[in-house]
């Protein structure tokens, strides 16, 4: 056999292998979005239409006012920030994410305390005290709701409580819940489905909640990876009922998709602004947060994506019809409950918070073949 050919084969195999390896690790190389010290501010959010709206409503004006260029990046994940911090080169300045994730970041020393002296008092007065956290200030409110296909369940004959979502006989059809449970495993919702009163939820009866999850499991056809995927599954009719972010469902409904949202027993949470430790633009970062919390800009954001504004004054800039659709419209908010972020985020004796512990338990629960 000619040795030339053998070398050729070997090369082919090696290069195919190398290509495959590159393809496999590709997503983990973090492409630097911007050089933060060159008059640029990097704002990291969960992307999608929200990031697009931010560009139109906030970034454009802020660039004019400050002379800085605003770059956006996504997603604001713990792991990426930790990798940047370990490498000693934090390129992110401002993050928008949920409190349990923020608590984990604080535990890893990745965030600076929020400097409230740099935010206008008039704005802070209009933001509920619960959203003034040590390292972060609330920006938008969202909730996990019953999002259903309106062809399978015409509005009015749809499941109106989590107990009904858990009831596969009265409401036949497939369910989809978040893999890893999104912000945190949906234990509150499991307890509500099991008949626990909404004011008796915390501290959560974890064992009872997981037993309730056991009953849900046979109904779940797909544990979705992202909220956009959940909306797509319901819109296409692949899934009949999903537990996902309601305002995304409203956005799809506005675009004409056969989808609707039941706000009853929704789990309300918030996304917060925070500043990274190691940011080279601390001053500008705080200026940006102050700028973004302006009532008019908050109203502009929720007109496009119907979440709830943290700044209550935003409702002054909305029409009655626009306000009605919001997660936190007077009609919707009274039927929902607040996640107790302290219960989820406070570190226990072993340094881990409940969010981390229950997510680990979720992985184990997932692995037990049901």
């Amino acid at each position: 056999m000619s040795s030339k050919f053998v070398i050729g084969r070997r090369k082919v195999i090696k290069s195919t292998g190398a290509l495959a390896a590159l393809a496999a690790v590709g997503p983990f190389f973090h492409v630097r979005p911007a050089l933060a010290d060159k008059g640029e501010l990097v704002v990291v959010s969960w992307g999608g239409s929200w990031a697009k709206s931010m560009r139109e409503v906030i970034f454009a004006d802020f660039e004019k006012a400050s002379g800085l260029t605003v770059k956006d990046d996504t997603p604001p994940e713990n792991a990426k920030l930790k990798a940047m911090s370990d490498a000693g080169n934090v390129t992110w300045d401002v993050l928008e994410t949920d409190l349990p994730a923020i608590q984990t970041m604080i535990g890893n020393g990745l965030l600076d305390p929020m400097d409230y002296s740099k935010i206008d008092k008039a704005k802070l007065d209009k933001i509920p005290k619960e959203l003034h956290s040590s390292h972060a200030v609330g920006n938008k409110l969202y909730s996990f709701n019953i999002v259903y296909n309106s062809k399978t369940f015409p509005t009015g004959r749809h499941p109106k409580s989590w107990a009904e979502v858990w009831d596969g006989k009265a409401f036949p059809g497939s369910r989809s819940f978040a893999f890893r449970g999104g912000i945190s495993p949906q234990l509150e919702i499991a307890l509500l489905a099991d008949g626990v009163a909404v004011d008796k939820l915390y501290p959560l009866d974890v064992e009872r909640a997981w037993k309730s999850m056991d009953r849900l499991r046979p109904l779940v056809k797909k544990w979705y990876q992202g909220h956009a995927e959940a909306i797509q599954l319901v819109t296409s009719g692949e899934i009949d009922i999903a537990n996902t972010v309601g305002s995304r469902g409203i956005t799809a409904k506005r675009a004409g998709a056969p989808i609707d949202v039941e706000y009853n027993q929704g789990k309300l949470g918030a996304d917060y602004w925070c500043v990274t430790k190691g940011s080279k633009n601390k001053k500008a970062a705080l200026e940006f947060i102050n700028f973004a919390l302006d009532a008019k800009r908050q109203a502009g954001m929720v007109q496009r994506d119907p979440y709830g504004p943290a700044n209550a004054d935003a409702f002054n800039h909305l029409t009655a019809a626009e306000a009605k659709d919001l997660t936190t419209s007077p009609e919707n908010i009274k039927r929902q409950f607040w996640i107790n972020e302290d219960w989820w985020g406070k570190p226990g004796a072993d340094g881990k918070n409940e969010n981390q512990k229950q997510k680990e338990r979720f992985a184990e629960w997932m692995l037990k073949k049901g």
Binding site: F5, G17, K221, E238, Q356, L367
Partner: protein, 290 residues
């Protein structure tokens, strides 16, 4: 060896390393050390911090059930996918060796075009094909074969179908590479000596193609064990694979120590299987020592 030439050897070696091919080899070694060995070593070091230096992560690995269930799920997927790829890939590769150059180019193209297409696109295509209102279910319900749409997606079946499609080229090309080198006169000789076509194939062609089988199986298996995107999108009922579990540890829980430990476990098991495979199926013949 004379004393003189023995003395000259180091000088010769030094000259070799300074020569152009030597520099290239050095460059490759440096490249591999920096981009492969260094991260690998770092991964191993991380696995020893849990968070204090020690074997706490390994203790967890052997006392918890979840890594092993995840590993079994991973193997379930990788083994089935390897077998499916072999069953589909072998006839394709065989066909490529028997047809003319033009037909061979056409078949190569059919295998390569999906290979060049993004894995995400191919995975989403399967969602369209296998979905509740997808082409397959539409056809089956329209023809009255089934009363209600079959559950083809978001389960083990969906993952195995999707991943087999994604990895098929990694089976076909190593197989074809080996088959193209097989001297077909040997098969004809067997036929002229009275062997039936089946017998000539089984006793002459098949054994000669085994190194290709081994190479293809190893490639598909290794890629299958590490697959992340396809199981995440096409699975649904909780087919948690090792890759998914590692992702959870690294991305969500910031438990990089245990994530690294799972990575080391995966590498060790796959490495062991690779050595066993190559010993049993003669992979070394492929790399020129046979």
């Amino acid at each position: 060896m004379t004393p003189a030439s023995a003395a000259a050897a180091p000088a010769l070696a030094a000259r070799y390393w300074r020569s152009r091919p030597g520099l290239l080899v050095l460059f490759c070694l440096a490249f591999f050390a920096a981009l492969y060995l260094y991260p690998l070593a770092k991964l191993f070091v991380w696995s020893l911090y849990g968070p204090k230096l020690g074997l706490a992560n390994y203790e967890r690995l052997f006392t918890q059930a979840s890594p092993f269930i995840a590993f079994r799920n991973t193997l379930d997927i990788a083994v089935i996918v390897t077998l499916v790829c072999l069953a589909l890939g072998y006839p394709i590769a065989y066909l490529m060796t028997t047809v003319g150059p033009r037909a061979r180019a056409a078949i190569s193209l059919l295998v390569l075009v999906p290979f060049w297409t993004s894995i995400l696109v191919r995975t989403y295509a399967w969602i369209v094909i296998l979905g509740k209102n997808g082409i397959v279910n539409q056809a089956l319900t329209d023809w009255g074969v089934v009363a209600r749409p079959l559950s083809l997606l978001y389960n083990m079946f969906g993952v195995q179908v999707g991943l087999s499609h994604v990895l098929l080229p990694f089976m076909v090309f190593p197989l074809y590479g080996v088959m193209a080198r097989i001297d077909m006169r040997l098969v004809r000789a067997a036929r002229s000596l009275g062997a039936s076509p089946a017998r000539a194939f089984l006793h002459v062609f098949l054994p000669l193609s085994l190194p290709g089988v081994a190479a293809g199986c190893v490639l598909v298996f290794v890629l299958g064990v590490g697959a992340y995107v396809t199981p995440a999108l096409l699975g649904g009922e909780g087919e948690v694979t090792l890759a998914t579990l590692i992702e959870l540890m690294i991305r969500d829980l910031l438990d990089w120590g245990f994530g690294a430990t799972l990575g080391v476990m995966l590498l060790t098991v796959v490495g062991t299987l690779f050595v066993a495979f190559s010993a049993a199926l003669g992979l070394d013949r492929l790399t020129g020592r046979g």
